[in-house]
């Protein structure tokens, strides 16, 4: 998924653009403050920068300069009224920059973005890494498991059943590692929620639990998970178990 950095004031326009593009791109909002932006750029390597010129004043020319000087290979799409474009166009030139004049339909912006970024063929390729969602209320455990799996899988995490459902809704994982013991909505309830939704009911779920009472184990097994592992997990065992659950035969 390509990353877009959306620079501008937080207003309805930026929100709309973000929402519109979010389905296909990873859109990251950034303030139009140059320093904040440069802070963000330390972390984010955008494939495209969109700058909303609404409310920008002359001091913002530094932003354009920054992209021109420090990130010349990153395409920049500016969105602004004719006036705005005229005010700032003198600060930037060259192929790096493209401009759409406001008012503009979201669809047009989308098409423009597509035009710049090209079709998303490579997306499919990168998606070959299977997605795994780890659900655990305990942060360090989430991190440990993620660290174990990161090399092989695309790992996302969720600290609760509710977050898990959101995450599943956003991007369907190929497998879910589910902690049994969680507050509010425990593993059992989470699994029930997953199983209740038709289009995600078939996602294999592996339970991770450190409760090893017979009673609990039986309760967990009664939910027919694809696998069952005791915490703390051992890396190889975990990988093997996931592999097994993901293999087409199972």
């Amino acid at each position: 998924m390509k990353t877009i950095l959306l620079v501008g004031k937080l207003n309805d326009l930026t929100k709309e653009i973000k929402n519109y593009l979010s389905g296909d791109f990873d859109v990251q909002l950034s303030s139009d403050n140059t320093e904040v932006l440069s802070g963000m750029l330390k972390v984010i390597e955008p494939d495209l920068v969109i700058i909303c010129m609404v409310g920008m004043y002359d001091g913002h020319d530094a932003i354009f300069q920054k992209f021109q000087l420090d990130y010349p290979s990153v395409p920049v799409l500016t969105i602004g009224t004719k006036d705005e474009w005229e005010r700032f166009s003198r600060y930037y030139t060259g192929d790096q920059f493209t401009h759409v004049i406001r008012p503009v339909k979201q669809q047009e912006v989308y098409e423009k973005v597509r035009e710049i970024l090209g079709t998303d063929d490579d997306v499919e390729i990168s998606e070959q890494k299977k997605r795994i969602l780890v659900v655990d209320d305990h942060g360090p455990t989430l991190r440990n498991i993620k660290a174990m799996l990161d090399d092989v899988y695309d790992v996302s995490v969720a600290p609760s059943g509710a977050h898990a459902m959101t995450s599943i809704g956003k991007a369907r994982p190929d497998l879910i590692l589910l902690d049994y013991e969680m507050p509010v909505c425990d593993g059992k309830q989470t699994l029930e929620m997953i199983r209740a939704e038709e289009d995600i009911a078939d996602i294999p779920v592996i339970f991770l639990t450190s409760v090893n009472d017979r009673e609990h184990i039986e309760a967990v097994l009664a939910l027919h998970p694809s696998g069952y592992l005791l915490k703390p997990p051992v890396k190889e065992r975990l990988l093997a178990e996931i592999e097994r659950a993901l293999s087409p035969s199972s």
């Binding site: 320093e35 963000m40 330390k42 360090p140 455990t141 065992r237």
Partner: protein
């Protein structure tokens, strides 16, 4: 003959007759079983009835005889024989006494007043009664042949007696017999004899068992007894001693009578009266028969009673004797059994522990690891118990020897302290060691036994001490030029021993206050072994103890001094030895070395090779001595391990044959004996047999590896310190087990098992470090709102349990587990007592971890100037990333954030943010970011 002699005689007879006590006991049982009250009543009534019938017969000659064609047939003996046969010879005497008394009454009341001495003629009843009675008892009625013999005997006795009586003793009385030739008398006696025997035979053969049981000795003809083995039946019927006794008494009486007669004779002579006028012969015969009539029945009665008493006593005595003998034999057998069990028990334990060791090394599953750990603990306990029992049996059997060798005192003490330190620490006891630094370093004595003694005492001290500590003190005084008296004392603050219990302390299998200490494991042999060993070394164990306050065990031992050079500071020596040992622990690889292992038990081979898997050694195995002999001619090995206990040929013989084998190309190869039989002096024995060294089973991996390093050619051994060890323990980012060991309570192998790559481990440690406070704060908060927040508390502590476990903080995770369970059980008391301790321990890990490079972050890295805007950008990005739970990006942001040189107040907030990110707490991050 005195009573004692008689009983002695009887006893001897008894022994000869019965052969072994089981017969007697079973006989007695059988007798008692059948002698019911009705038995006595019926038997005695029947006997009396018979006596009365005989009396009636005798009072009228018509009743006692009948004549057919001139031959007179007697019938008067019939009832006597029947009575004796049915009631037994014992109750037959009752019949006889009835006859005797009635006869006396008849004679006395008769008008013609015949000679009272005529009573002696009744002896015939005695003889035939006894004959019939004994025949019944001797089971003669089981065979017709014997019945015929009995018939002949009875007829002969009757005819000869009557003939004798009629013709020599009382001719007048028998005038009624017209013809009194022997033949006539014989024919006259036959019918009653035949009738008697037939009736008895029919009765004994065909009457139902419950009837037989009612009569005298007939019970031995019951089905039950007849189907029993002949031995028992014979012993049941055996009454020879009674006859012997009766005959003996009779002979005795007659002899004394004859002596009396001779005296009378000499008196008459001295009075010048002609003794010829007195018919001594007749007189004596009459007397003889009189005696027979009186003495035999009486002696039978007495005998029977005596026999019974003696027999019971005898049975008891013999039973005791047999028990004593069997106890002695059992004791011997026990010792032999225990010694032989040495091998038999240790071999399977070896297999179990060895395989378990492999599970411990190879399992990837923590649950399995825990199980295997338990097996190891239990196995080692079992092994030490077996060793205790073996030692004890060796001492018992006198096989334990004291073998003095030169030894280094510091190393002995090191071993002792190392051994006990772990145990004391596990129980939370302090261990102090006071060793005089002036102690000579090199001594001569049985180091192994001394170690064993002190180990026993120390182990006991730890076992019975719940709080406080154990102090080991070692001191000495010089007693001669080359000798010191070594004083060793072990003081504890344990439960102490009551004065009256001190004796029990030293008795085997007994444990003081069994009830109170029942959960303390052990054979109860430890102290007994200790005192015996000390005794063997010419010393003894002293105990000062105050019940409830503690005990002081001490002893002194004379030890020869090899070198007077003082040992120096004990702790220094200890440290030296520990660092040495650490070096030993370094494993090695030797991929080019070829090792031959010979053992007849495939499991042992598997264990052996499994233990050395990591060394990459090349293995060849042989399942027998013969196979080994074949292999050594074909292949050159670098080292050979040879099991001692194998079926023919055993290890020693295999070695000898190997050395003698001309084709052997392994003549210079070191050969190490493997043995499960760890007897003292084994080493010397094996070396004397030609082995280069020996190794006890279960195999101690460290000892084995050390041995391999020593015996393998140097060029084939790659010590791991310069092998790939470094890389695998994470040399790259500069973390070693040594450094990790600064984290108190961290089970490094456990952590590495879960997080095999150092990077993973470091990340986990660093995450843990970051969240230590957050987690603790959370739990504290929940603690404050207990019990409403019980469920939250449980889940929080549950999470803490997992995160501590994965980085090997097993102790901490254990505490968390207890708390988790306490929360589950809503046990407020337990939670409130353990929570503060847990919190202290938990937070303490943070300071421990700060000492490990790479966990707490690198403080020395150059810092960027703080830029509020940039940081704000990063933070807002962080907040949104966290909202999406994009940990990768969040972590990247954190990394960037850490590069700044934050002002103090922001820095503090930052730390909190880092922690919240590590804890994957998006809400908290958002909250903190907004605050900045």
């Amino acid at each position: 003959m005195s009573g004692h002699e008689i009983s002695d005689l009887l006893m001897r007879a008894m022994r000869n007759l019965s052969g072994n006590r089981s017969h007697i006991i079973r006989e007695t049982e059988a007798m008692n079983k059948h002698r019911s009250t009705s038995h006595y009543i019926i038997t005695i009534s029947f006997a009396i009835l018979c006596g009365l019938i005989i009396y009636l017969q005798r009072s009228d000659i018509i009743l006692s005889t009948f004549a057919v064609s001139g031959i007179v047939f007697s019938t008067s003996d019939f009832f006597m024989m029947i009575a004796a046969g049915m009631c037994g010879y014992l109750y037959g005497t009752i019949t006889f006494f009835v006859v005797l008394l009635t006869e006396i009454y008849r004679i006395l009341s008769a008008n013609d007043a015949p000679n009272i001495m005529m009573i002696f003629s009744l002896y015939i009843y005695v003889v035939i009664g006894m004959l019939t009675g004994f025949a019944v008892k001797k089971l003669w009625f089981r065979s017709w042949k014997r019945i015929v013999i009995l018939g002949v005997l009875l007829t002969a006795v009757l005819s000869i007696s009557w003939y004798f009586l009629a013709h020599y003793l009382v001719p007048i009385q028998f005038e009624t017999y017209n013809r009194s030739s022997l033949a006539e008398l014989t024919i006259g006696a036959l019918p009653e004899v035949i009738l008697t025997l037939l009736l008895l035979k029919l009765f004994l053969r065909f009457s139902p068992d419950h009837i037989k049981e009612l009569f005298g000795d007939c019970y031995i003809y019951t089905r039950e007894n007849l189907t029993a083995s002949d031995d028992i039946v014979h012993s049941l019927g055996d009454k020879r001693y009674s006859i012997l006794q009766a005959v003996e008494m009779t002979v005795l009486s007659i002899t004394s009578l004859l002596l009396a007669d001779m005296q009378v004779y000499s008196v008459l002579e001295s009075l010048e009266i002609d003794p010829g006028q007195v018919d001594f012969f007749i007189m004596n015969l009459e007397m003889f028969f009189m005696i027979l009539c009186l003495m035999v029945p009486v002696s039978i009665l007495i005998n029977d009673r005596m026999t019974k008493i003696t027999r019971e006593k005898l049975i008891k005595e013999q039973a005791l004797e047999v028990e004593l003998k069997s106890a002695e034999a059992e004791n011997k057998a026990k010792s032999a059994f225990l010694s032989s069990m040495s091998h038999e028990i240790r071999t399977p334990i070896n297999a179990v522990l060895g395989m378990d060791e492999m599970i411990l090394r190879e399992t990837g599953e923590d649950q399995t690891y825990e199980y295997a750990e338990s097996i190891r603990t239990a196995g080692n306990t079992l092994l030490s118990l077996v060793n205790d029992v073996l030692d004890y049996s060796k001492i018992e059997a006198g096989k334990m020897d004291i073998i003095p060798v030169e030894y280094e005192l510091s190393s002995t003490l090191n071993d002792l302290v190392n051994m006990i330190r772990v145990r004391a620490e596990n129980k939370g006891l302090s261990l102090s060691v006071n060793v005089s630094p002036t102690l000579p370093g090199h001594l001569y004595g049985d180091e192994i036994r001394i170690k064993q003694i002190v180990t026993n005492i120390l182990t006991n001290a730890v076992k019975y001490t719940e709080k406080g500590g154990v102090t080991l003190s070692v001191d000495f005084t010089k007693t001669a030029d080359d000798e010191i008296e070594l004083r060793i004392s072990v003081k504890d603050t344990g439960i102490g021993i009551r004065k009256e219990d001190i004796g029990k302390l030293f008795s085997e299998f007994e444990r003081i206050e069994e009830k109170r200490n029942r959960n303390i494991e052990g054979t109860g042999l430890g102290m007994s072994i200790t005192t015996r060993l000390l005794h063997m070394m010419g010393s003894e164990l002293h105990v000062d103890s105050v019940y409830g306050e503690g005990s002081d065990f001490y002893f002194s031992l004379k030890q020869k001094v090899v070198k007077w050079e003082p040992m120096g500071d004990y702790r220094e020596a200890l440290r030296r030895s520990i660092s040495l040992r650490k070096a030993y622990r370094e494993s090695f690889t030797a991929p080019d070395a070829l090792v031959l292992v010979v053992d007849d038990i495939p499991m042992n081979l598997k264990v052996f090779t499994g233990l050395l898997k990591k060394t990459k050694l090349q293995f060849d195995t042989a399942g027998s001595g013969l196979e080994c002999l074949e292999k050594v001619t074909k292949q050159r090995y670098d080292i050979i391990f040879l099991d001692h206990q194998m079926p023919e040929p055993d290890g020693i013989e295999t070695l000898h044959r190997m050395r003698a084998l001309p084709q052997n190309i392994n003549k210079n190869t070191p050969v190490i004996a493997l043995t499960a039989n760890a007897v003292s002096g084994a080493r010397e024995e094996y070396i004397a047999s030609g082995f280069d060294d020996y190794l006890t089973k279960p195999i101690d991996t460290v000892a084995l590896e050390r041995m391999l390093i020593h015996y393998l050619p140097d060029d084939k051994v790659v010590l791991s310190s310069d092998a790939d060890n470094g890389a695998s323990t994470g040399e790259a980012i500069g973390i070693t087990d040594e450094e990790l060991s600064r984290i108190d309570g961290m089970d490094i192998p456990f952590a590495r098992m879960h997080l095999p790559e150092t990077e993973l481990l470091m990340t986990a440690l660093s995450d843990f470090y970051q969240t230590v406070d957050i987690q603790a704060d959370k739990l504290d908060e929940l603690m404050n709102t207990l019990p409403e927040s019980m469920d939250g508390y449980r889940i929080q502590v549950h999470g803490m349990k997992s995160s501590a476990a994965i980085i090997g903080l097993t102790g901490l995770s254990g505490m968390a587990k207890i708390l988790e369970y306490a929360a589950r059980d809503k046990d407020m008391q337990k939670i409130s007592s353990l929570h503060p301790i847990f919190m202290i321990e938990w937070r303490k890990t943070k300071s421990d971890m700060r000492g490990v490079p790479g966990i707490a972050g690198d403080d020395d890295a150059p810092k960027l100037n703080y830029n509020a805007g940039e940081v704000r950008g990063l933070l807002s990005l962080l907040a949104s990333s966290m909202e999406e739970f994009d940990l990768d990006r969040s972590d990247k942001i954190i990394e960037k954030l850490k590069e700044y040189d934050h002002p103090t107040d922001v820095g503090e907030q930052m730390e909190k943010i880092y922690a919240a990110v590590a804890d994957v707490d998006a809400d908290k991050v958002k909250e903190l970011v907004e605050a900045i």
